[in-house]
């Protein structure tokens, strides 16, 4: 918890990163790897600067679709886990279907989605939604259905109905799990959007990666990857702050 320790950690992480980049930079010169195979960091930075407006535009585009997909996945997972937690019968019928669906490689659905909905936003949002919902659903549902037996019995003794137990205990106790699963969901949503962009779009970083590699402009592709990683990292950090504030109790933090 000590902030001086935090600073120290960040500092060492930065050092390690810079060192890696330096070794990478040098090795591309020493070993003479062609630029289109492994571009040195300096050329990636250069490409980023040169295409900054273009990259920003496409990054925001990708981000908007990923966030929309994530939001959809979060709402859907929450509602579905409520339904599944409430009814054991529905759970037994629906769970295998959902698990089965999750086993389908979602990338394979993109051409179909494009066929149905064109090349606009919808296939991208849907793909990110379809990839992101499962990692949110499972922890949330598990938390809802694993209310301790003793606690359950106490509530029933007090006269609680199943609905009351769900509202008063299952939902609040699932919140830390739900919120932390959004990290995984966010990463999945970005993957979904980028995949859809690579298959059926003329916009977004996925599209930029595909078109730049086909022109052997590898530095630009690396620039896209770096931007994606940085975006995912920052969003995850923001999510973490929201999480710690919203479910303080789960971390036993006194106010």
């Amino acid at each position: 918890m000590g902030s001086s320790k935090d600073v120290k950690n960040v500092f060492s992480a930065v050092i390690v990163l810079l060192l890696t980049l330096a070794i990478w930079e040098l090795s591309t010169y020493v070993v003479k790897i062609p630029r289109y195979v492994l571009p040195p960091p300096s050329s990636v930075i250069e490409a980023t600067a040169r295409y900054s407006n273009y990259l920003l535009e496409n990054l925001l585009n990708t981000l908007a679709h990923a966030v929309a997909g994530l939001a959809l996945a979060a709402v859907f997972s929450l509602l579905l886990s409520l339904l599944l937690a409430y009814s054991e019968v529905v759970r037994e019928v629906v769970s295998p279907l959902v698990a089965g669906f999750n086993a389908i490689p979602r990338a394979a659905l993109v051409p179909l989605l494009a066929l149905w909905f064109g090349l606009g936003s919808l296939p991208r949002v849907l793909t990110s939604f379809l990839i992101a919902f499962y990692p949110i659903l499972i922890p949330t549902l598990t938390a809802m259905v694993t209310v301790e037996k003793e606690l359950w019995e106490m509530l029933v003794s007090f006269g609680a109905s199943k609905k009351q137990i769900l509202v008063k205990v299952a939902i609040p106790r699932s919140m830390p799990y739900f919120l932390s699963s959004l990290h995984m969901g966010l990463a999945s949503a970005l993957v979904g959007t980028v995949i859809a962009e690579m298959i059926a779009s003329d916009r977004g970083l996925g599209y930029v990666i595909l078109s730049s590699t086909s022109r052997l402009d590898t530095p630009l592709a690396f620039s896209c990857l770096t931007l994606l990683a940085f975006t995912a990292f920052s969003l995850s950090k923001i999510l973490g702050v929201v999480e710690k504030r919203a479910v303080r109790w789960a971390y036993r933090v006194s106010t």
Binding site: E150, M154, V156, G159, Q164, M175
Partner: protein, 252 residues
């Protein structure tokens, strides 16, 4: 007198590992009169918790029946207060909100019970901790919160399952005094399950002695001490005679 709740010839079996049946309690007759404090003692595994769950309506007996008095349980929801060995507090609720939980469950307005909650907190020495969270309290304090929660809705029947067994000896005695005073103030019908014989003799009007495997009621011992009972009662000769008598019944 009409019993508040009466177990008639109750037998409970558990299905363990699918096939084998384990008879946890067998042919138990037990009635609790209104305003009475009954303690059930017995060795570990003799079916005390099972019996309590039958009374709470959590387990349906395989044989026999549970009869609740219409006169006392008028209204749709039976009003039962429970307290177990662990406090089972909800970590996302502060102390006051935890205590008011049963009010929300019976569908009344918690705002009308805040004053009562504060009175109970006063009596249990919890004042000033209304807005603390469970993890900020000691084990003994958490158990006191659980006691307040069990009492907040003025239950017709109070069910306690080894509520003080995780506490140290001094805190436990404090809780005895507390329970005795609460019992006197509000005259709850109470069923206490414990394996602490001193606790049973000090607090109850009647001690039900169970034998195990399968659990049966062996005997019942009336405890005649006048109330209010003092903690120093446990040093009297008579008290210790009761304790010794029950102990010898248990080890037979």
């Amino acid at each position: 007198m009409e019993s508040l709740v009466r177990l008639k010839n109750v037998t409970v079996r558990y299905r363990s590992n699918g096939r084998r049946y384990l008879t946890a309690v067998s042919n138990v007759d037990l009635g609790v009169s209104p305003g009475e404090f009954v303690a059930v003692v017995g060795r570990s595994g003799c079916g005390k918790t099972t019996l309590l769950k039958v009374v709470a309506g959590l387990i349906k007996p395989d044989e026999g029946e549970v009869a609740y008095s219409e006169r006392f349980f008028n209204g749709s929801k039976k009003k039962i207060g429970v307290m177990f060995q662990s406090p089972l507090l909800l970590p996302w609720r502060n102390v006051l909100e935890n205590i008011l939980l049963p009010i929300e469950i019976i569908g009344e307005d918690p705002a009308n019970y805040v004053e009562r909650a504060l009175i109970l907190m006063e009596r249990t020495g919890l004042r000033g901790f209304e807005y603390s969270y469970p993890w900020e309290l000691s084990g003994g304090m958490q158990q006191r919160v659980a006691l307040c929660r069990a009492l907040i809705h003025r239950p017709q029947l109070l069910l306690l399952d080894e509520p003080f067994s995780s506490l140290d000896a001094i805190t436990r005695e404090e809780m005895w005094v507390l329970l005795e005073s609460v019992f006197l103030y509000e005259n709850y019908t109470t069923l206490l399950v414990t394996h602490d014989i001193r606790e049973a003799v000090l607090l109850s009007d009647r001690v039900v002695v169970m034998s195990g495997k399968p659990g049966r009621v062996k005997t019942e011992v009336e405890i005649p001490f006048k109330r209010p009972r003092n903690i120093s009662l446990q040093y009297s000769k008579e008290f210790n005679e009761y304790v010794a008598k029950i102990k010898s019944m248990l080890s037979e």
